[in-house]
Symmetry: C2
Subunit: 341 residues, 2 copies
DNA sequence: TTGAAAGCGCTAACAT
DNA sequence: ATGTTAGCGCTTTCAA
């Protein structure tokens, strides 16, 4: 059925089929410049029946503009990042910009590679997770000559614009809430990722807040790999076996927190009376648990939206200067697993 | 610090800085052709100190090859698709191909748009979820002149290559297992998505298998939006209130199944004695639940890998012909929620 | 309102 | 081993 051409169609094909110059065809297809209704229709008809698909490679080279925004994130499995992406997509909706995703697997070297690849497509902007990058990566970002928005984290120096929350502050707030609720023997459960700077900063904030009240983290445990839910379960069991007198467990993410929650419920342990729990992120998933896990919202979609808006505004020329900073407020949700006093 | 050039560097800049012709610079940067070690080093040094980033737009136009594989999926929030993507990435690792993701939000119209956008970048191949597309989308796929792999589903006609499982068969297998286990009053809980063809096919397979034993679905309920876990909880409660004599609940995905499982456990209902449960997908998440939910593995990563391999093989010229078909075997996991007889 | 010419930054193909 | 020439398929700019 289909005319099995080997060669993809070009503007010239549409031009010939419609008897209109390539230039005018181009104008019609881009809705640019004045074209009479008559020719417009002839061109569109020809393009449609031929099945013409424009070549953006050529268009981008000629126009020197690529309407792509590179979004560089550590992972797609973490829930958090697809939500950030939703925010980006939502904000870019209605502009001519489109997001393109790159994944680093939490590796700085891979981040550097992915960034280099992205930049070689000459995108209109870059949104990149985190403030910590390799030296060459930072240099690339600085030299790129396009809007750069570092997201998620505001504790540190940004190359250009910055949107996120202070994870140190988030940890501190949680530490204060835990202390105020009367918990004193606190265990920490997290990921074995020295490069997860945001988790590290939360931990720092937490320990500092507790230290202010003369409390030290009583036990800690880290995991890597596997199902976060079951790891949360296992780690909780291990930790409570080792340190049965703990009265609070702080998890570096909601998923392991949920695992711990399910385990403790099975054991018939009183939450939040005998032991309190908190996670981090505020993932929607938690809504379906038997108890609402205390958590702190990381403002994922908002971050994506704000970051994309910065790029869109600068791209459209509406905003000239760079270096925007937006620090969002992490919101504490007590849920059912953190006493209020 | 950084030389704040407005204009991005070109090959010519590197050429001038190194005193080597553009062509030779190009060869060095691409590791193509014979270049003496001496010039190679001079060029690399120049490129590095200048901070040159190649322009792939220009390169792609000149070479008529774009090493991108478009991957078009309904959603990133569904867990399933990030896992498919991992498979794709894994298989493309080591080749020069790179995945680029497009998301359709389960809308055929958006799929058509995303596909058009992707094709206009002239990718080396397309991996697209599902066999159902709009007429124009199908036409584009047919005319594209590149390898196309439709994934996830094998029940229907593919444009070119096809990798997936038969969801009708998956539903049928589950129906048989349910019947063999002795369950007779079966409820179905799913998503309110007329366009989720795979869920529909599983449902068809299930009902057909049960019909073969003279059993009809006794009750059904559908949801849309919200947290799947809590929806599973709510729907389960609603359904059992309405139809208390059900002895089995089949959920169209694991997440709502997990919600139902948690709810029933809270109610102290005997699983799988009083009531049996099964979901679909085999998501890793389930490992951490109090009981292992019966499910059926949808072979997500394998599908991504196999699809990407087809594209890579054809792209490298190792394989000439198209139309490959790979039907994977959905594996039933009884878990703890489906009796064995 | 339409068309013609020039060139975006690179690489294939051909010299040398 | 290195250089030269001629485009890739569009869009920008200028002319008609």
């Amino acid at each position: 059925m289909n005319s099995s051409n080997k060669r993809p169609l070009t503007l010239r094909d549409v031009s010939e089929a419609s008897g209109v110059s390539e230039m005018t065809v181009s104008r019609v297809l881009r809705n640019k410049g004045d074209v009479s209704q008559a020719t417009r229709e002839r061109v569109q008809e020809a393009a449609r029946t031929l099945g013409y698909v424009p070549n953006k490679i050529a268009g981008a080279l000629a126009s020197q503009r690529v309407n792509l925004v590179g979004v560089i994130i550590p992972s797609l499995k973490n829930m958090v990042f697809p939500e950030v992406l939703s925010g980006v997509s939502a904000a870019l909706e209605g502009t001519e910009l489109q997001p393109v995703v790159g994944v680093t697997d939490y590796s700085p070297e891979k981040e550097e590679k992915v960034l280099f690849e992205m930049l070689s497509w000459r995108p209109s902007g870059i949104i990149i997770a985190g403030l910590e990058h390799t030296e060459p990566a930072r240099a690339m970002l600085e030299r790129a000559g396009i809007p750069i928005v570092e997201i998620m984290d505001t504790d540190g120096d940004a190359v250009d614009a910055n949107v996120g929350i202070s994870h140190r502050r988030a940890g501190r707030l949680m530490g204060e809430a835990i202390h105020e609720a009367g918990y004193r023997k606190i265990g920490f459960l997290g990921t074995k990722m020295p490069l997860d700077h945001r988790a590290r900063k939360r931990f720092e904030g937490l320990t500092r807040a507790l230290a202010g009240h003369g409390i030290e983290i009583a036990d800690q445990e880290f995991y890597s790999g596997g199902s976060a839910l079951s790891k949360g379960r296992e780690m909780t069991q291990a930790m409570l076996t080792r340190s049965p007198d703990l009265d609070f467990l702080y998890y570096s993410n909601d998923m392991i927190g949920a695992g711990g929650l399910l385990y403790l419920q099975e054991q018939g342990i009183d939450i939040p009376g005998r032991i309190g729990l908190a996670g981090f992120n505020g993932v929607e998933l938690l809504d379906g648990l038997p108890l609402q896990l205390a958590t702190m919202d990381a403002c994922r979609a908002e971050i994506g939206e704000a970051a994309a808006r910065i790029i869109a505004d600068r791209n459209s020329g509406a905003v000239k200067e760079g270096g925007q900073r937006i620090e969002l407020e992490p919101k504490l949700a007590y849920g059912d697993t953190l006493r209020r006093d």
